[in-house]
Symmetry: C2
Subunit: 352 residues, 2 copies
Amino acid sequence: MRTPPRRPTLADVAAQAGVSTALASIVMRDAPGASDATRRRVLDVADRLGYHPDSRARLLRSGRSRLLGVVFGVQHAFHGDLVTGLYEAAAPLRYELTLSAVTPRRDERTAIGGLLQDRCEALLVLGPQSPTSALATLASRLPVVALGREIRHRAVDVVRNADCQGLHQAVDHLVGLGHRRIVHVDGGRTPGTAERRRGYRDAMRRHGLEREIRVVPGGPTGEDGAAAAATLLDTVPPPEGPTAITVFNDLAATGVLDTLRRAGLSVPGDVSVVGYDDSRLARLTYLDLTTIAQDTATMTTLAIARAVARIEGQDVLQREQVIPPHLVVRGTTAPPPPAPSQIFGKTTAPGA
Amino acid sequence: MRTPPRRPTLADVAAQAGVSTALASIVMRDAPGASDATRRRVLDVADRLGYHPDSRARLLRSGRSRLLGVVFGVQHAFHGDLVTGLYEAAAPLRYELTLSAVTPRRDERTAIGGLLQDRCEALLVLGPQSPTSALATLASRLPVVALGREIRHRAVDVVRNADCQGLHQAVDHLVGLGHRRIVHVDGGRTPGTAERRRGYRDAMRRHGLEREIRVVPGGPTGEDGAAAAATLLDTVPPPEGPTAITVFNDLAATGVLDTLRRAGLSVPGDVSVVGYDDSRLARLTYLDLTTIAQDTATMTTLAIARAVARIEGQDVLQREQVIPPHLVVRGTTAPPPPAPSQIFGKTTAPGA
DNA sequence: ATGAAAGCGCTAACAA
DNA sequence: TTGTTAGCGCTTTCAT
């Protein structure tokens, strides 16, 4: 009762349709050189038989795979957004994607290895963790595009977010609202941390707020944000308490929000908070987080375009493409409270 | 300066090593029938040339692909957990996974189509959205295993969570802590909602609490949870306010938590909250959410085992495998507050 | 232990 | 428009 194990081949289709395999191939590939009648007949049979071309054989023969390998982290919500964009960008160029996941127990090396066996023509690595040298070696075999992390090697293409600029926007927004005591919770050892921190510092200076610059060590997770906020609540004496916090990313920002609110503070009434990434966390929940959105559509389009350009041997002008992000104002930012002081410190009575 | 476009083939390796391709093949596959000296020499050359076997050619020839297709949603954090488990379960059986993502703009049909061309030997679909009929048609061509959704068709294998039982555990836990007024925020139109709701009702009855049964319409998102909690705060008169809430999933539970805390209530001091899934949300953040964990390790192992069993034509006893989840106690559940009333409602009036 | 030869399903020349 | 032929990179008999 269960299916015959063998799937139909092109030869089966051709035979049933009474044509040669070559002709059937032409039809299946939608290539010129077959009459409409034949075309219909072949497609008909193919459909009836449930025929699907064997990409392996097809690509083996044609020498090319038109396959782009994508390495991503199943963990990262943001990678999901990027993968979405990559699929869309690849389709019109008639390239396919094969995905290989990095999981807690499957490292990037393994993920890349799998892709190599699939004969991808280029590799797109989202937030690569491998050392530059490993990526460089790889890049000597096939085009490699790194997304979202700076790689300083001439053989590796890079498409990334202008982290620095993102924090300029966050600070500009807050200053525009009237904030002056703005702190930054950084990303710890996460890639991008240094740039975002620098962006924060530069922007503060530009606004003449160098004396207000204060960076709190943080990290990429919710706990990191929560811990940083707790530190802030504990250590900054009430008169100097910040009225706004820029956080390394959205997830950490949620940790900050939670700690603030548990301490009885209102966001954005008492303190404003800005995240980074515009992840689903910021968008899709009740959180309504003001954040800096990475332009995923542009980033993915450029990444695919670059990979294809390399594959097709076109000349490439700039190895690194840095895309400006943009501010998305939502509900966690507002003008600072009129009274300039009694915000931070442990002895703040919860709201009536 | 850029790499010669052609990658090394087995023939290249064989030539350089001074052996036949057949022998080189034996070495590369780690098959018996080659001397140690030869083995070393061939592997050496392969390494030096950066040779990676062409899986397409390899599998084309051997007639099998040992490839399992996985359809997953890039959106769903929980799918990330499952994919992680699937990779682990497949490796020891020497099967590979190829991933195909469902994104907001790439539907399940498309995702499955891609996999079919890759000549997977079976398909694992996480949380399938396709109609049963479509899955059934597919299953007539190759083994199909659905994860996490009930599919009523004899040709489709199913591995899923015992949703009903999960809510039993949640209610048992809360009752054990001394709660009686336990409400359930359901999942709206999300698959699994009905079962979880039923589990809640059954468990309440079993504890003689049928009069306390109260289901609030909810949904799978944070907003849904927040809205449901708001409704609860507004409508339930203070003396009857619940002391515990079981929520459809973790994400919605975070919405509930947020609303509760913004309303000045303490969790778990005033109200206990239990989620579902044990997603990273529950585990990895400051949230510390008590929840019902789906046993992803078992589910993925069974799913892979089932797919392989079907591929290898083994007899299968039960089409559907329903895995019991387990309670994970964290910080959002505690005994109910001593005073039985003044929890919900805007006017905190201690009843007599 | 090693090699020669055939062929997996398909596409690309070329011929008819 | 259609068919014939060769061969992609590899594994698999079957010799040696």
